[in-house]
């Protein structure tokens, strides 16, 4: 039996709350979900304890033998969700990257103030903030009123309950998640490196390509992952701003559990989503392990 040094014992003791918590509340539910995804749905919710592989077949498009024809609608929803999440990532990045540079050049008290402003939305409920967006985007909302009073449009735009509204809402919700990691890598970028690059003859664009972008890439990648994963699974924004028109994978999972009461199929959709996310993230993780100083 191997014995622990007192330092190792201390470390174990200190880590045990986190280990217990994650073990019970993260691995446990994940395990239950994995098991349920292979069980037969009960008639009125719950599960029958029989091995059942049709859940996965249904996600991939095969009919389950009872209810459906071959239809890849679930894969389409997954890919559409990934597309919306990707657009959210690109828009938040395009917004946050320049702003991060701008704020990092400010005097320190203005810096703190601006970061406070970025974090400010967290102080109120997301649901309330999304209701505010409904007031802005609906036919008689502020956006249409302003555009019409300026004479830019003559009839109200159909903004609500569309992919555009969902993207606007998601970008709004996820901006802080992109901004903070991007800002921290921009802030840590030594201005002397930029000077050195210019001094050695690099044009501003070359300096960006060869120094600024590679040096801030870790923050950009962290931000992209932090936005992409919750955006992919998000169901509140599409439910409130997308209406019935925009169904994302998160809404589908919610419907399966709460409306259709098909727990195994909801669990299966969640498992497929997790595997999909792991595939996306692993591309980054493998790269990071090859170049340790980048992570």
């Amino acid at each position: 039996m191997r014995s622990f040094t007192s330092q190792q014992k201390q470390l174990l003791l200190l880590l045990s709350p986190a280990t217990l918590f994650l073990g019970i509340f993260f691995l446990g539910p994940l395990l239950i979900m994995a098991v349920y995804s292979f069980l037969e749905p009960g008639l009125y919710g719950g599960v029958e304890w029989n091995f059942y592989h049709w859940n996965y077949g249904r996600v991939l498009g095969w009919a389950d033998g009872f209810y459906e024809e071959f239809d890849i609608v679930y894969l389409q929803i997954l890919l559409r969700s990934a597309g919306l999440a990707l657009v959210t990532v690109l828009v938040t990045l395009a917004f946050c990257y320049p702003v991060a540079f701008w704020i990092s050049r400010m005097q320190s008290r203005w810096k703190s103030f601006c970061i406070f402003l970025i974090a400010l939305p967290f102080f109120s409920s997301m649901i309330i903030r999304l209701y505010a967006w409904i007031l802005i985007l609906r036919d008689s909302g502020f956006a249409n009123q302003i555009l019409m009073s300026l004479g830019i449009i003559s009839e109200p735009l159909d903004l609500m309950y569309s992919g555009t509204a969902v993207i606007i809402g998601m970008v709004y919700i996820f901006i802080p998640f992109m901004f903070l990691p991007v800002y921290s890598s921009v802030e840590n970028l030594d201005p002397k490196l930029i000077k050195a690059s210019q001094d050695l003859g690099a044009t501003p664009f070359t300096t960006f390509r060869r120094v600024i972008f590679p040096m801030t890439l870790p923050g950009v990648v962290s931000g992209c992952i932090l936005v992409f994963i919750p955006a992919l699974g998000n169901f509140v924004v599409p439910a409130m701003l997308g209406g019935a028109k925009v169904v994302m994978i998160g809404n589908l999972v919610e419907q399966q559990f709460l409306a259709a009461r098909n727990w195994p199929f909801g669990a299966t959709l969640s498992m497929v989503m997790i595997v999909f996310m792991l595939l996306v993230v692993s591309v980054y993780l493998i790269r990071a392990m090859k170049n340790p100083q980048h992570s």
Partner: protein, 374 residues
């Protein structure tokens, strides 16, 4: 590099002004009318305390800051209109500023890569530059894997690989330990001679400036206090500021009592001192400077005439080859002397007579010592 005929007006700075507004609303004159000419093969040092404007001047030459007024010409052409990446100068930064995401080879080759030099020539020149700074075969390593001294050499290799007309060095040795700094000082000087280009070196370390420079520009509050060779700056400081900044010195204010022939007698707070006569007249106010090493300790009865100052020893500090004596003169002024150490056993409270050579005194007219040396 071919040794061309050195041009004395290679870098020409004309009436350069630059001011900054502090966050508190005050104005700092970083450059207050600087005029300077530097030769094309010169090792010139900008020396001064922090805030004297030396780094500002370097940043303006490199193109990272602008000038309020004035002109800077390099080889006859104005520098001020071109952006930093088009200027034929390169910089060695204080903290080296090596690119942490690139290996040493890519760091050194950066200037060639952005200029689009062919791979083969590029690799050869990288190897040459690294060899020149005594650091061959480290191309594949990352900056974080090198020691401070090695990073310093990489920064140097990276800056010379573009074959600049002039190299700017911003306190490059300040992060190194004392022994390594001494070694790098000599290597830098050798490298400059080998390349035959102008090195503009910025430092606040007077010892460093004296060791390496062909000429030193002493800056204070945005103005040139003195421009001269290390010998001139050390032995013939132009002002009281230069004297106090460079080396240790005894500075006395006094009034000329009598002058005639070769020598003059000056009354320094009751003590009479004999110095060379620089066309002084009785009644003139002067500042007298003498380096501590120009005193000699003599037994009282051997002192030649009046060339001695009586003082009481307060403390004697052993600093290796020499003893530093902190004394107090009869009029209460402190006096510092450096004498060859021996086992003489000097004790605090002992009365001493310190002899000097009258010609060793450096005389600056005016009590405040702001005037020009004669």
């Amino acid at each position: 590099m071919s040794a061309q005929q050195p041009s004395p007006d290679f870098l020409k700075i004309k009436k350069a002004y630059r001011h900054f507004v502090t966050p508190e609303g005050g104005t700092v004159r970083a450059l207050d009318g600087i005029d300077l000419s530097v030769a094309s093969n010169e090792f010139i040092t900008l020396l001064g305390p922090s805030g004297c404007g030396k780094t500002t001047l370097l940043n303006i030459i490199a193109g990272f800051e602008r000038l309020d007024r004035g002109e800077i010409l390099l080889a006859g052409a104005s520098l001020l209109e071109s952006p930093p990446h088009r200027r034929p100068v390169n910089t060695v930064f204080q903290s080296y500023a090596l690119f942490p995401h690139l290996n040493i080879g890519d760091n050194v080759g950066y200037g060639l890569d952005v200029a689009g030099v062919a791979k083969k020539e590029r690799n050869q020149r990288v190897a040459e530059a690294l060899e020149m700074v005594g650091l061959s075969g480290v191309e594949k390593r990352k900056p974080s894997q090198l020691s401070g001294g090695q990073q310093q050499r990489v920064a140097l290799a990276r800056a010379i690989i573009n074959r600049p007309k002039m190299l700017l060095l911003d306190e490059p040795l300040s992060a190194l330990d004392r022994n390594l700094r001494g070694k790098m000082q000599i290597e830098l000087k050798n490298l400059q001679a080998e390349l035959g280009i102008c090195f503009l070196f910025v430092t606040h370390d007077q010892e460093e400036a004296l060791t390496m420079s062909d000429r030193i520009v002493v800056l204070n509050q945005g103005k040139v206090e003195q421009l001269g060779t290390p010998d001139e700056v050390y032995h013939r400081p132009a002002s009281r500021f230069v004297t106090e900044f460079i080396g240790e010195s005894n500075i006395f204010s006094g009034t000329v009592v009598e002058s005639g022939g070769q020598l003059a007698r000056v009354n320094v707070g009751g003590t009479e001192v004999v110095c060379s006569n620089h066309s002084l007249r009785a009644g003139d106010e002067v500042s007298l400077l003498l380096r501590p090493e120009h005193f000699q300790l003599k037994p009282a009865d051997q002192v030649n005439g009046t060339n001695g100052i009586s003082a009481v020893l307060e403390q004697s500090v052993f600093i290796g080859r020499d003893h530093q004596l902190h004394c107090r003169m009869a009029n209460g002024q402190p006096l510092s002397a450096l004498i060859r150490s021996s086992l003489s056993g000097l004790k605090p409270g002992q009365a001493l007579t310190l002899e000097y050579d009258p010609t060793a005194w450096h005389v600056i007219p005016g009590a405040s010592g702001v005037g020009t040396a004669q």
